[in-house]
Symmetry: D2
Subunit: 331 residues, 4 copies
Amino acid sequence: MLRIGLLGCGRIGQVHARSIRALEGATVAAVADAMPAAAEALAADTGAEVRDVATILQADDIDAVVIGTPTDSHFDQIMGAAKAGKAIFCEKPVDMSVDNIRACMDAVGEAGVPFLTGFNRRFDPNFARLRARIRAGDIGAVELAAITSRDPAPPPVSYIARSGGLFRDMMIHDFDMARFLMGEEFIRLHAVGSALVDPAIGEAGDVDTAAVILTTASGRICQISNSRRAAYGYDQRIEVHGQKGMLRAENQLETTVEIATETGFARDPAQHFFLERYGAAYLAEMRAFVEAVTSGTAPDPGIEDGLRAQILADAATLSRETGRPIDLPGA
Amino acid sequence: MLRIGLLGCGRIGQVHARSIRALEGATVAAVADAMPAAAEALAADTGAEVRDVATILQADDIDAVVIGTPTDSHFDQIMGAAKAGKAIFCEKPVDMSVDNIRACMDAVGEAGVPFLTGFNRRFDPNFARLRARIRAGDIGAVELAAITSRDPAPPPVSYIARSGGLFRDMMIHDFDMARFLMGEEFIRLHAVGSALVDPAIGEAGDVDTAAVILTTASGRICQISNSRRAAYGYDQRIEVHGQKGMLRAENQLETTVEIATETGFARDPAQHFFLERYGAAYLAEMRAFVEAVTSGTAPDPGIEDGLRAQILADAATLSRETGRPIDLPGA
Amino acid sequence: MLRIGLLGCGRIGQVHARSIRALEGATVAAVADAMPAAAEALAADTGAEVRDVATILQADDIDAVVIGTPTDSHFDQIMGAAKAGKAIFCEKPVDMSVDNIRACMDAVGEAGVPFLTGFNRRFDPNFARLRARIRAGDIGAVELAAITSRDPAPPPVSYIARSGGLFRDMMIHDFDMARFLMGEEFIRLHAVGSALVDPAIGEAGDVDTAAVILTTASGRICQISNSRRAAYGYDQRIEVHGQKGMLRAENQLETTVEIATETGFARDPAQHFFLERYGAAYLAEMRAFVEAVTSGTAPDPGIEDGLRAQILADAATLSRETGRPIDLPGA
Amino acid sequence: MLRIGLLGCGRIGQVHARSIRALEGATVAAVADAMPAAAEALAADTGAEVRDVATILQADDIDAVVIGTPTDSHFDQIMGAAKAGKAIFCEKPVDMSVDNIRACMDAVGEAGVPFLTGFNRRFDPNFARLRARIRAGDIGAVELAAITSRDPAPPPVSYIARSGGLFRDMMIHDFDMARFLMGEEFIRLHAVGSALVDPAIGEAGDVDTAAVILTTASGRICQISNSRRAAYGYDQRIEVHGQKGMLRAENQLETTVEIATETGFARDPAQHFFLERYGAAYLAEMRAFVEAVTSGTAPDPGIEDGLRAQILADAATLSRETGRPIDLPGA
């Protein structure tokens, strides 16, 4: 039984607590949150103890930590957990600073603790299946990929202002997905972006509509596009074209019901809420973490995946600001 | 070059004229119609001569006739054409009377002339492909079929009153399709029907909504349903279930365009008009006739197919009126 | 907090236990099973006490029973629970004998206890949504419905032999769905069936492939078809045609992934396992029971729905055996 | 009756001849081809006279020319036809040189003759409908478009070598489509490309896999991707995302047949051949030309559209070669 300390009891912490409860091999042993009421509520739900972060990190009865605190707390908690020899599950982004992530990577490496970066979309059954079919050779060598990601509605501008920008806050998931699908690192990237959804987002220095082209050394190409708004739900699609064919994963609609009337055939919107859309993914992600830690294999995606996605997000931000393609550092 | 005399220059006659013009191996040599203006208009379009029916039947320069006149003229024209040794393409139904069809069958058989019954749907590329895959064994032995056929809107009640009723006028296509798909004759049938679309149809002694179950000697089952109305277009679908899987042919929509908005994902209505929906089928049907006559092979479907569909339509009419299943005459 | 006694700890009992645990307003207080090991295993999972059925029925600390025992135990347990004033959730079928169901209905009525018949498919989010749209008038008056239900593979012949036959064991779900969709009772039914999947099923006196037509007093028509085998998964579809359009609920596929290769575009099979396909339905069903009992409203579907479905199943069995349509008793 | 002289009797000339024959208001009066046999064959089919190009351009009985000759003949023929006051339908590309197109544009403008550039895809019923819905405001302001275009198989390398390269030979259609959809000119473009399908294409200095990002002054973004190969047919899709939703046009498959087996649900490949996929588009294009000339309105797309697409193709070629984004000349 893996005994887990949960750092952060907000929305994502609650998601992870629910996943842990649904697994046989793990339990939420302790919870911590800067807001005592949040910690107490989650403790009541899970039967865990409320402790502070430092106590959890030092506790002998805690095997692993799940970090779901605000991003600016990640660094200290990772460093502390690594030092204390705890296995670490950390929500994305690992840190807003690539240098900090490198420091964490060193600490984690030296401590030899397992580390999983919370790129939940890799665990979506649809996307995971698509990638397994690529690996199985079903479409031969990959040539072109296209990732489309649109949120149902933009977050508040106040959130945008401290988010690090669309490329680091939203498209980072797609950068990780691009690496996951492509099977080869990117060497060059060009990004464009505009504030079309809400001028206030532009005034805050960010974009809400963006597209990126990435290329690999062997010439494979990946297109990504993002929008902060989609009238028809949470739009999450991937398409990969190869030598022998194409793989696509379409949106999950609310139901399978179709109505035909004089205006035609109509189906439901896409599932709107990320917790619904990625519910199965969050559970599979936690299962993968628990199984990896329990069996002594390295969790995947690891901290280096967190680093590489952040490097791509930084490069895209710079490319969009300067209007120039950016050469990426080698693997 | 097969020289064809076209009997009947109404809507369906014009369709056949257009098909013949598009084929290399045939030409419309002469046209006839009870309405001189209709014959002249089609003659102008095709470059054919206007003649009367008797003259066409006797003409040495005519190899084949295409009969698209009202149903009550078919019998005399078939008998005349058979006697004159012309190849015959006859619109469905061959005749409203099974006895008359048997008489035609005898005459055609004795004369040894080729005969094609105009069940155009067999030539629809979708349905033809579906049936070819059944024959290729793609779903193994057929077990269950379901045919759905709905017109966009009912014809005038005046038409209904002299149509022979829904089973003979509309479902006759589906009876032929059922035979085409099943690969075994039916031995028993049960039909139900109601006037739900328009009470005036019920007052005229007919139904506008109907369903039939047919069974074969080996126990295969076919379900048919018809409605005289479909808000979303001309609904024409078939589904066949077998040992190793299921084949379906879906509706053809007006375009491939899909719109996603806050109410969901919407596509176009089904093609509304039978000449659009079955345009390719009419052309393929005429090509099959011309090729069969030219190459000396028997056209398919032949006159016996016209007879068998009529027997099923009569049985369904009786079953609906009496509320009893009907045992069908043996093959 | 509704305290529930679970009678029967087999596969379906475990499903219900899991649902109850996921709900906030209910708890599994006690479990009983003829096999002590099964009861103990489920007790360990849920934290419930193991008791015998009689003790549960008499216990003051039990508010409701969930009956998931073999069908021939239902009658005594329902009578006992009604007498003891417990709310009752009973798996379908309520009983194989219509007379027994009527006796239960009387007992339940006299005792005034809430009763839910476990027709789980009514709670499937797709089917529930489709029916809500009918009720909302989205397709106007209902005219024609078609229900298709195919199991992935037949059960063992030993099961078939004591199942009551396909109409009572499998199609009973579709009879309930037909009533749920139609909004009007059926007055007449005609059933056909064959043993095409496995001759041994025919030798056991049953069929594995069947179709039924049902009609209502106002002339509405419902078609049902069943097969005990579907190569491509658990095939569960409904279609309802009305004055203003058509509603359909399609199968849920394993993932949304599509592959395009030289043979065309291919998607996954339908979900194979009923616990996966109807997982959400089982949870929604239990929630509806708990909410109805807690709020004092009548659960829906009630015991009369169990009775009416059984009457249809009996009539279909008789119709198939005699080859005659059956007039159904009035509402 | 518009009397047309057809210049070029190869594959595309034959397509246009067929379209003209199907129209009521036009006729092929004369044909010319460098290969006498080709001209004679088409003359026999259409009843037209064989003449040489110069004779056609000077003839009083010719109202319009359709130019389907090799690209390097276009310039002289356009200049000649403009001078002679003939209406002009010219296949894309108008010319490989932007300067030449400008010269043609001047000549056409001075002569005041109608000119249609043969961007057939604008006339595809699916794409035309999609664009009409954009113009009708169905998705509000356009924000992001994605155009996917993949040929079933690459042309011979010998063709590639003198084609002007993928951006001018293949993607030029997509550049025109991008302008057609976007409703605003592009100001900047970045292109990448690789030879992944066939190394010989790379050795010939061209690419077979490419992606482009284009942006407009107001910040709208368009993504295009091309491949010279698609195992599953001729892949032609567009998607436009806007304020109020998304419009998509999917591929046209060979039939509507779907098969479900133990591996899942499979549909046909996309139509493989461009004459099948765009058959309706070629006819609609010629109808638009004939109607515009007959009614005295300006054909659309005009020669300026040919110019702008060529400018984009040149810029993409340069961008791919230099690795830099290219600023486009203003409107």
